[in-house]
Amino acid sequence: MSHTLLILILLGLMALAYQLGRRRSLKLVGGSRQVKALHSLPSYYGFYTAIWCGLPALLVLFLWVSLQSSVVRDLVVSGLPDSMQSLPPARLGLVINDIQNLAQGNIVSGEISPAMQAAADHYTRLRQTSQAASFVVVLCIALAGLALGWRFVSPVFRARNRVETVVRWLLVVCSTIAIFTTLGIVLSVLFESIRFFEMVPISQFLFGLEWSPQMAIREDQVGSSGAFGMIPLFAGTLLIALIAMLVAVPIGLMSAVYLAEYAGSHFRAWAKPLLEILAGIPTVVYGFFAALTVAPFIRDNGALLGLDVSSESALAAGLVMGIMIIPFISSLSDDVITAVPQSMRDASLGVGATRSETVRKVILPAALPGIVGGILLAVSRAIGETMIVVMAAGLSANLTANPLQSVTTVTVQIVTLLVGDQEFDSPKTLAAFALGLMLFLITLVLNVVALHVVRKYREAYE
């Protein structure tokens, strides 16, 4: 990869620039004994020169790389014969894909026409030109920057202040990445969702009781007009999340109470980390456990009891998701329980209440807001959890409250709609982004409410 090489050369140049700037500053005042005559330490002059050498060049390189592919693509398209240029966007995308594959020597989907071959050669040429040009331009900028920075070096020059200003701006830029991420999430799902809602009315998406995106592939198929109702998906998601909560809340809460109020420090010291192992296990492992161990176990035992259990039952997925969430609930509850002031425990025990009465009548009510906040965070995590349900829950959207039947969830549908071949203007693919938007909004609201509750509670006792 030649860009890696370019970056390595740039780093080398920056090291050189550092040395040059440093040496020059010392030379100007006549050796290291006269260093007091400099405004800043010599290394700052070195850093200053290195920044001039590296920063503009790296910025240009970054812009070049991020724009290169789309510019080359546009140039290739404009060089195609008119008959190919007037193709609908989806077909054109396919043609461009073929051209790229041809240029890279991969297998091509259709037959190779002379026009395609010409375009592929054009593509290869353009890429090579762009690559070479980027090399030359970036290195020129780096050398020019080096020369400029080197010339700036003088004993009265305030190099440290300049370097610190640059570093400070770099820090500011890094801290804005969080905002750009949120913005990127919102914009990317929002734009695709708006395109989706142009094809499928939003009311139908929000309140429709039927979900079967597969039907919308062909125009002439029955039901191709409307099968994008998200109610069954959300019902399924909530059913699985509810089962998970029914498992996780009692176990998590009771173990937190036991570990905080009853357990000796010895028991606590090894039981707590062991429980938290559950939080560190990747979700794909839980998914495997749910699909290959828990689901068959439930189905076989259900059959013994004469129950008709689906092999992808909501119960199996929910149960395993509950196990995953136990440490989440228990560590959050543990935090709030230990934050309840000791004086409240002492008072309750002092008037003769037993330990359990103290827990139930004093500590839990006092810790309730924090516990509720923790549970809300856990619900948000259960709703957004993907791998367990992809592996253990079903694909068919049943609107049912029976945990023994198969249901599907929002995340499962996003994954099945987007994994594999996609065309980016069918409602089927765009529906995944609309679901993503709903998922993002719901979890956002849950998180904001939960964080608010937790924070408000913490303030009360600090």
Binding site: L171, V189, S255, Y262, L274, I281, F289, R381, I414
Partner: protein, 432 residues
Amino acid sequence: MSKMHLDPQRTIERVNATLGRRYRKEQRFRRFGLGAVALGLLFVALMFLNIIGTGYSAFQQTRVLLDINYSEEMIDPEGTRDPAILSSANYAGVIKQALRDRFPGVTSRGDKRELYTLVSSGAALILRQQVMENPGLIGTRASVWVPADDDIDMLVKGHIDRAVPESERRVKDQMVAWVESLEVEGRVAKVFNTTFLTSGDSREPELAGIGGAVMGSLYTLIVTLLLSFPIGVATAVYLEEFAPRNRWTDLVEVNINNLAAVPSIVFGLLGLAVFINFFGLPRSAPLVGGMVLTLMTLPTIIIASRAALKAVPPSIREAALGVGASRMQTVFHHVLPLAMPGMLTGTIIGMAQALGESAPLLMIGMVAFIVDIPGGALDPSTVLPVQIFLWADSPERGFVEKTSAAIMVLLGFLILMNVLAVILRKRFERRW
């Protein structure tokens, strides 16, 4: 008024009367708590036992000893020793010949076809490699250990019950008989499975390995680390040491806290829409995977780094400022080195999260079936958890143990990283 003054004697009687019930309640409550902890620990134990129980056998591979005749007329009939001819020779035929020689009684076409399924299709590749490396083998005879087919592998490891009727079993009775006759002669052995650790994915369970996925995970993690550590530390330093208290800073903080709780799959949607569709970066590449995971792990690293910076006492800063250091010098020369162990611990934990993450990587196409071992951050590849996901979906019995074994490897890496984090914290964290 006088009724309110209860007789102390009567009060104590009423208390004593309920005491037994209250103590029993107390006992019950306590047992519930202990039961909850025990249940949680039971789940941990159950999962580990389950996975290790099904997975450990994948670290062994069944091999069959065949007497191979590297006959000249099958491999190189014209005797040119031209590498092109040697490379495309019919080694599968050589294997088949060896099997026919061992079992001369098998004559009908159907039986022969079954006989050929005793050994893996990878056996021919082993012969090819041998001959390519040493053309002098041609015309000689030798005994070679070749990998058995996955069904035979399962049979030898005891995952296929020889007692059940033939119709309910994947392996036919006559194949069992052949295998047993080979076993009697000591021509069947279980050896340590290096294929599993070094080779890429395959449709054949006995040839599939995690080598490609491990390399993919490695490249993805390197990209993630190179991006998320500097950015995370820089953000933490800015927010903790330089940022003025204003609405902009508050906005950044609220954003970071919210990002920490956004479902991971949403980050996948972001990666698909922005990195792949907008910037045109290649699909399935560790570079894009690393960028998506960077955005996911940043909140973890930032929060841990800020906690580490907060733990450095203000007196350090004041002392540095007092002897004339600038604020930048104070932070970079004094505060940051002291906070570094805490930051590294947070980073390792973030990396462990990234290593186990799979949902966002499904979105950006890292689920493709990739045989080649990736050689860089732009080669199409998959990662360990996604490989587990792919194998878990495969119907062959042989992939079940492969999946569990891959999980064992993944958990091994995770445990290693967490232990490292704990050691780092124990050894270098200073209490002020």
